[in-house]
């Protein structure tokens, strides 16, 4: 009875599916999380960042070769003293609502970002700008409050339409523009639903995109994303999965449906020590913890392939110091160091005086494989007499507890960088993102000198020094950077994935039925 019911149900559903029209020109992709805001300032989660890339343009972009290329700007010249830059804008660009794009929009965007009442995460990226002024319809001159090397690299931010903000330069997170954005980019928003966003091609774009429609589906279940990619050829399937979980990568290694596309994100994983915690302010303890952890094993077991790091830069970064040898697991030495420093084992946990080496390890649940990673770390630290009390919290609480209130001892997380790895806010004692309460005058000095230098070579040297110092002093334990794979349907042609914004060259992608 149940069987018959089930099979008839299945057959009827199958019929419905077969009867549905095929829409070949729709590019579908799943995201783990919903984009929250498509207003570029507030596009903070990666799914919003990727979608904003399709809707908005910046003055310049990073092209396939990693070079800068004009987008809304057709050319630029830096002032000789590196205290300003002059952009010439592309002519004939129109906003999605038909209005003309002009220099006023660029000036407006900068002013809005600098308005103290506009509060957003990336505000510091506009801090170097002193003033911006329009020079005619297609010229902008921007001055800085300090000399900047290769200033054009700092103009990757998206440009907003001045006419869409009637209330002036104070832009609120709650502005409706976030759901009904008007950009100049290759796609316009057709429908912004709670679980899906659909985009249609912008025919007026200067290099119109080939794919007619883009559909983002919120699919929190990773295994469902993988299944959907497996049926990419069929109309219910998706054509791309942004980030394939490492354990699913082998499924597609010899697939005739899907290609694996590696892309190198400028991001690295770290374990942060709260330097205000008792015990963790002792460099010996930090070192012992680092020595107890087998990074290769954790990486391989839970995250797939990647590079083991010795400092706050990825191996492809110009600042990476190859002379610094990353630590290897050495439990014996870790135990010895702790013994020598006077931490005695008592009931499986080491103590010295009133300091007990038992730490609260706070984890963001949304971090990939967070549970398995922490389990592994916990087991390894146990071998040197250090206990860990795990606390998994959701993303919002994590931000509140770890970043804003600093109620944690240890945590594990990832930093992702758009283009340049600017670690000043992370490790300077006055850095806005120094949530570990790190205070090292040597590091502060290095960072300050590096910031004020005008010579890029010297800057690189300072960074390499910093790498060595940080590897020794361990404000974080720098873990690894991952080889990330996207799964792309073989229907797609001309694909290139930008490591951060992902869809930068999407208008060149093609989708064959």
């Amino acid at each position: 009875m149940m069987n018959r019911l089930l099979s008839s149900l299945l057959v009827s559903c199958a019929l419905v599916a077969l009867a549905a029209p095929a829409d070949a020109q729709v590019f579908r992709y799943p995201e783990d999380a919903r984009p929250t805001s498509l207003l570029p300032f507030f596009a903070e989660d990666m799914s919003s960042v990727r979608m904003v890339e399709l809707i908005f343009d910046s003055l310049v972009i990073v092209n396939k070769r990693g070079d800068l290329e004009g987008s809304l700007a057709s050319s630029w010249t830096a002032d000789p003293d590196n205290m300003g830059i002059r952009f010439v804008l592309r002519e004939g660009v129109k906003w999605h609502d038909g209005r003309d794009f002009s220099a006023d929009d660029v000036v407006f965007t900068i002013q809005a970002a600098q308005n103290p009442k506009t509060v957003f995460n990336a505000k510091s990226k506009f801090g170097f700008i002193k003033d911006a002024s329009a020079e005619g319809q297609y010229g902008v001159h921007i001055t800085f409050n300090r000399p900047i090397n290769e200033p054009e690299r700092r103009f990757l931010f998206k440009i907003l339409p001045k006419h869409a903000f009637k209330k002036g330069t104070r832009i609120s997170r709650k502005d409706r523009f976030g759901r009904k954005p008007i950009g100049t980019g290759p796609y316009k928003v057709q429908k912004f639903g709670a679980r899906s966003v659909s985009l249609e091609v912008n025919p007026d774009y200067w290099a119109p995109a080939r794919i007619g429609e883009v559909l983002m589906q919120h699919t929190p279940d990773k295994s469902a994303q993988v299944s959907l990619l497996q049926y990419s050829g069929k109309q219910a399937g998706v054509q791309a999965v942004i980030f394939l979980p490492p354990k699913n990568v082998p499924i597609f290694e010899n697939s005739d449906q899907v290609t694996l596309e590696p892309y190198h994100t400028v991001s690295w994983w770290y374990m942060a020590y709260n330097h205000k915690s008792k015990g963790l302010n002792d460099p010996v303890v930090r070192d012992a913890i680092a020595l107890a952890i087998n990074r290769e094993e954790l990486l391989e077991a839970h995250l797939g392939r990647g590079d083991i790091l010795g400092g706050p830069f990825t191996e492809s970064s110009p600042f990476y110091n190859f002379e610094v040898e990353p630590r290897e697991q050495d439990i014996q030495r870790a135990n010895q160091m702790l013994d020598e420093a006077g931490y005695k084992k008592k009931g499986g946990v080491r103590r010295k005086g009133r300091t007990k080496l038992q730490f609260r390890f706070v984890m963001d649940k949304e971090l990939a494989s967070s549970q398995a990673l922490l389990l592994g770390i916990e087991a390894q630290l146990k071998k040197i007499g250090i206990r860990v009390k795990a606390q998994y919290v959701d993303h919002a609480r994590y931000r509140e507890q770890v970043f804003n209130r600093q109620k944690y001892d240890l945590t594990l997380n990832v930093w992702s960088f758009e283009e340049v790895e600017d670690v000043y806010p992370l490790f300077h004692s006055k850095g806005v993102m120094n949530f570990i309460n790190y205070n090292n005058s040597e590091v502060d000095n290095l960072l300050d000198t590096a910031k004020s230098t005008r010579d890029y070579k010297k800057y690189k040297e300072y960074m390499k020094q910093l790498h060595a110092v940080l590897n020794r002093d361990l404000p974080y334990y720098f873990l690894w950077s991952l080889d990330v794979y996207s799964g792309l349907s073989r229907q797609l042609k001309g694909t290139f994935i930008q490591p951060y914004y992902y869809f930068t060259s999407f208008e060149e992608w093609e989708l064959s039925p």
Binding site: V16, A17, P116, K117, N121, D175, K234, A396, F403, R405
Partner: protein, 325 residues
Amino acid sequence: MSRAARLAIAALRRAAGGLLLLVGATFVIYITIRSAPGDAIDAISPMGTPPDVKARLMAEFGLDRDPFTGYLAWLVRSLTGDFGESLVFSPGAPVMEVALPAFGRTLLLSASALVVCLILAVLASLLLGESSRRQQLLTGPLYVATAAPSFVVAVVFAQVVNWAVNVYLVQNDYVPPMWYPIPIYTESLMPYVFAGFALIAGDGLFMDFFNAVRAELTALRNAQFIAAVKAKGARTVGHIARNMFMPLLSGYAARLPIVLGGVVIVEYIFTLDGGGYLLLEASRERDFPVVVGISVLFTATIIGMNLLADIVRAVIDPREVAHGG
């Protein structure tokens, strides 16, 4: 005429009572949210935000007032239909613009699942009610089967259907249906059907309904006036149906909260774009205005349903108003 007047007065009194309850319940919800040890602002403001900027954000989101005046202000504004604006889920959108359509889908889903469940329970008790032997044989297994939480039913069901589609369709090179594999977002109706099935089959709802309907039916069948109706040779169907209606309506109103509880998680499993999903997602993102808004909708539905049942009962049952409420 006077009955109509009394009815109207009773209905107004009930409505006033319901409104009072709604105010009380929203106060509880509001206070609960405001009792957060960490403020919403810390969860959404960037790391290293200076205190004065935080204070400005607090003011912008109306979190700077103490909970009581905050509640009063909220109450006054919400009476005019303004429930504030979403902070994170859909920044800037009026809360009800986000919450109402989502909750509407949830309500439609739960209400129709409950209707189907009710019909099944009535049919089952008509079929099984007479034979006590068959009923006893079936009750045990049925009890175990339907006591499962609806989300467990949903999980198992999703796994079974995924497996079946894979084995029968995908491996035979048929095109899999739009909703496959199950936890994906799709515009097709099937996930809603699946969710409805899980709601009917889970949370002990069917058994609960079945037992209540059967008890009511048995009591009615043995009622003296039914014997009297039988003895004078009239058909009993009409009398039984009329007298069954009210207990069924009350039972329906009483069970709606159970279904509204189950639907939250079931929606999550089938990735339905409804009120439960909105509640979980907005909670996760600490979008408090949306959380309050959707909770108020849930509460108002429960109160409204009871109110409606009371009023319908008063209209149908001549005994109700006579007692003076």
